[in-house]
């Protein structure tokens, strides 16, 4: 359902969409049923002259059953939803698959700094590529990200990945994604972070292997002037 509106560009985007779809199907059915019963009762039992309302205490077992049965149904469907949701949660947030590469994401008021590992695919080396508000990743490669913030809370959200994680100053939070579609998409800050919260957009650029190699070569700092242009530890509480 979601992918009709927002592209699905990561391996787990489809799984999250499926959980949402499952919940939609379950609660949608019960919602419509409850509304149908509700409006049906209102029309059926509208006041008519000389018809007295029934006296039902709702305390007798056969009356209580009408509440108890939907109650058990709710429990069963709750369990189903919990199982599906937690499965996806583990996939996205708890289990990190082996990474091909790691990027560092540093949030601050009101910009994103992305540290790419560069041609040698290692962070904290001289050829790291640091960009502002633009993250370059390669198609079909598993990435880890290390997320932190320099000042207040921010949130790293990539809607096409269905990924969202708050950045907290003083903490490093790890996560992963694997892009499955090339293109340029929005990165949002989804945690209010001051007056510039609304002007904190960034873009993620997902490239093919060849294009990414070219970008790496074009942007990697020349080793001669590497030291001044690549601060290995900017003031982000990063290693």
């Amino acid at each position: 359902m979601i992918d009709q509106y927002v592209e699905s560009a990561s391996t787990y985007a489809g799984d999250i969409d499926n959980v949402i779809l499952l919940i939609l199907a379950i609660v949608g059915f019960w919602f419509l049923l409850a509304q149908a019963v509700f409006f049906g009762l209102i029309f059926k039992f509208k006041a008519r002259p000389n018809v007295k309302a029934q006296y039902v205490s709702g305390e007798k077992p056969h009356e209580k059953r009408w509440v108890a049965l939907p109650h058990y149904a709710t429990l069963v469907f709750d369990v189903l939803i919990i199982v599906m949701a937690i499965k996806v949660w583990h996939e996205v947030k708890i289990n990190l698959p082996e990474a091909n590469s790691t990027v560092r994401v540093i949030a601050q008021q009101w910009a994103w700094t992305f540290v790419h590992p560069g041609p040698d695919n290692k962070l904290d080396t001289a050829d790291d590529i640091t960009t502002v508000d633009e993250l370059h990743v390669e198609l079909n490669k598993t990435y880890h990200f290390e997320l932190t913030s320099r000042d207040v809370l921010h949130s790293f959200s990539v809607p096409v990945f269905r990924l969202k994680q708050d950045a907290i100053p003083g903490r490093i939070i790890k996560g992963w994604f694997k892009p499955t579609q090339t293109g340029q998409f929005d990165i949002q800050c989804t945690e209010i972070c001051g007056i510039g919260h609304g002007i904190m957009p960034a873009r993620i650029v997902i490239e093919t292997e060849a294009a990414h190699r070219l970008w790496n070569q074009a942007n990697a700092p020349k080793l001669a002037d590497a030291a001044p242009t690549t601060p290995p530890t900017s003031a982000g509480g990063m290693p």
Binding site: L96, R171, I172, G237
Partner: protein, 151 residues
């Protein structure tokens, strides 16, 4: 909920309503509390961790029990008051239980509180010696603003 000021009686030796305790009874309780206070101050001086914990916090619980039972007369109060107070305490346990994994611990699944770890490390290093601590008070604990040597 009845009109009577106090529950009729608790079983056993407290069958008498609390108000009829003579003054000397409360003085005795006070004496016990003072003895406990002395123990709780002296105990930690021994420097044994278990003894410290027991004398400091175990005795605090005993003191609290004595005050609640005898001075606040909870023993002869309506039962629901005790349940109410215990519920509030239980809620605090729930809160600490829910918050602890994030705040008490400094790392967990896929996250690492580097600022707190650095603060611990720097604090322990600075506090190695005893005595001249007037000097290090002003220095702010290092944190996220200055990058760490985390891994």
């Amino acid at each position: 909920m009845s009109d009577t000021a106090h529950a009729p009686a608790a079983p056993g030796s407290h069958a008498v309503a609390h108000a009829s305790h003579p003054d000397s009874f409360y003085v005795k309780i006070w004496g016990v509390l003072l003895v406990l206070l002395v123990v709780s101050v002296v105990g930690p001086e021994l420097g044994i961790r278990v003894v410290t914990l027991f004398t400091a916090f175990g005795i605090a619980v005993v003191k609290a029990y004595l005050v609640i039972k005898n001075f606040m007369h909870l023993g002869v109060e309506k039962k629901y008051v005790a349940y109410l107070l215990l519920t509030m305490l239980a809620l605090m346990v729930v809160m600490v239980g829910g918050v602890g994994p994030d705040v008490l611990r400094h790392q967990g699944t896929n996250w690492d509180n580097v600022a707190a770890k650095k603060a611990v490390e720097a604090g322990l290093k600075a506090g190695g010696g005893h005595g001249e601590h007037g000097a290090d008070h002003g220095a702010p604990a290092p944190g996220a603003a200055s990058p760490g040597e985390a891994h």
